[in-house]
């Protein structure tokens, strides 16, 4: 086996967090290598460049790895979960397909135990992350508007907000009638040319890759800068396990290259950035005599406390025209029901994110699923009642950590390299169910106030497991957490984790701006401790 010289930092995974980490560490001039199982994306091959784009969004660019089934994907046994995993494996990771909704956590999200007596507090707080949120927004390019009363004042550099459009106006009027909060979303979609990238042209296909490059996926934001700064990115390299030395320190990784040949890379520091499923999978598969239960797992918590955010979808049918297929899906958000209110019968809360509408195939499928479009002669009239007349929202419900929601290694299922596949076991809690019911009821009120003549809802969205969090949580107690307050494994002092796994709780917002801010924070912590990083 050919051997590399020892690299300074080995990052595994080139997604949202791996990209931010690579870029931030690059200014140290260390030798940084990133291994990524997928390839580099070519935006001109994204579905929206072809007529079959909605079909491809359910085929080779599906959000479900089990449906895509590309060589870069690994299968996931999700039979035991009502919510199925959505991800993408390639440079940029999940952000290749993400919607780019980019809100921050609230200060209260870091203190749920103190405030509500559930789960755990984070070992860091909003103020610790605030500068990194700002830096991450600047690197990514974020549209939005300062002054949202649901948040503390912040330091974000924002481009003008996404257009309200017909759908945004319809729903804003509904919120205003009820005197409920709404605000233009913070979105990782550029509304002006920015950092060499061209602005959004309303393709409406963000969810299958932005051919315009306007959506801030990590392959077009951080990676070009990280590569220019000298980071070495090796694509189509799938890591099987982290290796350890006799002293219990990580020594590097064994991986399969694009030809399926086994390779080894040695490193002084290993950083895991494989996401809330890929990271525990790899740690659990890195068993050795010293670490028989998997690496960095003395707490037994690797893979446990998986959180998804149960999503509900509540769409209205209007008599007037909505934006339909045009424009980024998001426009505005509401956090009227974000913070805990004991009278609601559950703790924590949710963000409502407005959905502008659907393209034709999604309209038809939604009509089929909700019994609004029959098979047969009435198809056309029923379809036209929904087409370009739908707008509504999803509710992003805070998911609380529960140890029985977990990632384990499947005893039988394997990926193309013979590495055991992850198995997900997940049940919805009573708190989540009550929160979803509340969200459907409140959203229906808004849609009715906005003039909807019909309402279609789904709770939870079964394919909506796009936020993968909690499976290697951070904390100061080694018995109750996997990494410390700056991302270093309690057990293995040169092993760091920076992806969504380290979340202590999930908040009621999309996670990626927090994942990337955390990665920048951990990178800064490492840089400030280089002399005694392993003490």
């Amino acid at each position: 086996m050919p051997e590399d010289p020892i690299v300074d930092v080995l990052i595994i995974g080139a997604g949202a967090s791996g990209a931010a980490m690579a870029w931030s560490l690059a200014d140290t001039r260390m030798h940084i290598v990133c291994l990524e199982q997928g390839g580099l994306m070519n935006p001109l091959e994204y579905p929206s460049t072809g007529r079959d784009w909605e079909a491809r969004a359910q085929g080779d660019m599906s959000i479900s790895p089990n449906q895509r089934n590309l060589p870069s994907d690994y299968p996931i046994n999700e039979d035991d979960s009502p919510i199925k995993v959505a991800n993408f494996n390639g440079v940029g990771g999940g952000t290749v397909l993400y919607a780019g909704h980019y809100p921050r956590f609230h200060p209260s999200d870091f203190r749920v135990k103190s405030l509500d007596g559930v789960a755990d507090d984070w070992p860091i707080d909003y103020d610790d992350l605030a500068p990194y949120y700002g830096e991450n927004d600047r690197m990514t390019g974020v549209a939005g508007l300062a002054g949202d009363p649901a948040y503390p004042r912040d330091n974000a550099h924002r481009l003008p907000p996404l257009p309200l459009g017909k759908s945004g106006q319809i729903l804003a009027k509904g919120f205003n009638k009820l005197d409920w909060h709404w605000w233009p979303s913070d979105t990782a979609i550029i509304t002006e040319d920015y950092d060499g990238r061209a602005k959004c042209i309303n393709l409406g296909a963000c969810g299958s890759g932005c051919a315009q490059g306007a959506k801030g996926s990590a392959d077009v934001t951080y990676w070009p800068h990280a590569l220019r700064a000298g980071v070495e990115l090796r694509t189509r390299c799938r890591v099987r396990e982290i290796t350890v030395g006799e002293d219990g320190m990580a020594t590097g990784a064994i991986y399969y290259d694009g030809n399926g040949d086994e390779q080894e890379v040695k490193a002084h520091v290993v950083v895991m950035a494989c996401n809330g499923i890929g990271t525990p999978r790899l740690l659990l598969n890195s068993k050795s005599e010293q670490f028989p239960d998997g690496l960095a797992n003395s707490s037994g918590l690797v893979g446990k406390n998986l959180m998804f955010h149960p999503y509900t979808s509540i769409m209205g049918v209007f008599e007037e025209e909505t934006d339909g297929y045009a424009g980024p899906h998001k426009a505005i958000r509401s956090q009227q029901f974000y913070e805990t209110d004991a009278d609601r019968g559950y703790v924590r809360g949710y963000t409502m994110e407005i959905q502008r509408g659907h393209a034709p195939v999604r309209t038809a499928l939604s009509g089929f699923r909700n019994g609004r479009i029959p098979w047969g002669a009435d198809h056309h009239t029923a379809f036209r009642r929904l087409y370009n007349c739908m707008a509504g929202m999803v509710a992003v419900c805070e998911d609380l950590p529960e140890e029985h929601n977990r990632v384990t290694l499947d005893p039988d299922l394997m990926d193309g390299n013979g590495i055991p596949a992850p198995k997900i076991s997940y049940t919805l809690s009573d708190n989540s169910r009550k929160m979803m019911d509340h969200a459907v009821a409140r959203a229906s009120e808004i849609l009715t106030a906005a003039g909807a003549v019909d309402i279609l809802s789904e709770a939870p969205i079964p394919w909506g497991g796009w936020h993968l969090m909690g499976t290697a949580r951070m904390g100061s107690d080694p018995e109750r957490s996997v990494v410390n307050e700056w991302g270093r494994s309690h057990d293995v002092k040169n092993l760091f984790i920076v992806d969504g796994s380290i979340f202590v709780t999930s908040a009621g917002v999309n996670p990626t701006s927090t994942i990337q801010a955390l990665a920048l924070y951990v990178a800064d912590q490492m840089k400030s401790r280089l002399a005694n990083l392993f003490d």
Binding site: L115, P163, N202, Y325, R356, P360
Partner: protein, 152 residues
């Protein structure tokens, strides 16, 4: 027709089903989904689901034989309707997959897109217009006091 690995009978069954799901309409001036150009789309997309489709079609034939003593493609329209109903109830996942592929192939046809007022083209590179809208709608929210929860 483009190359397909489905047998002629399988393709015929899918064509009949496609036309049952989305029939032609004089009122809207659109073809049915069984139209040859649209079936080309559908059969091409169906390849990646080959095994599931063949299983669904074989379940369909089993029902047809049981209810009417012949395979699905040999039945008359009324018999097909009743078989399709049983099929949808007993094999929802297979029926949904076929309906899904049908609309995926259908709603990208020039004639269909034009009838909906869409330009028959992919979204990229031209994109679409979305109006800015009336931002004065935000005025009442701007006046709200900060309402996030303090942690101290």
């Amino acid at each position: 027709m483009t190359e397909t690995t489905f047998t002629e009978t399988e393709a015929r069954a899918l064509t009949i089903l496609a036309d049952m799901i989305v029939p032609a309409s004089d009122e809207y001036g659109v073809p049915g989904a069984g139209d040859p150009a649209i079936m080309d789309n559908i059969l091409a997309d169906a390849e990646r689901h080959r095994a599931r489709i063949i299983a669904a079609l074989s379940a369909l034939d089993d029902i047809a034989r049981k209810e009417h003593g012949a395979v699905f493609t040999d039945l008359d329209p009324a018999q097909r309707d009743s078989v399709a109903e049983t099929f949808r109830a007993a094999h929802a996942a297979g029926a949904d997959l076929i309906a899904n592929l049908t609309v995926q192939g259908y709603y990208r046809d020039d004639r269909v897109m034009t009838s909906l007022g869409m330009e028959p083209r992919p979204p990229h590179p031209k994109g679409y217009e979305v109006e800015q809208g009336d931002w004065s709608l935000l005025d009442p929210v701007r006046q709200r006091e900060a309402f996030y929860r303090e942690t101290e």
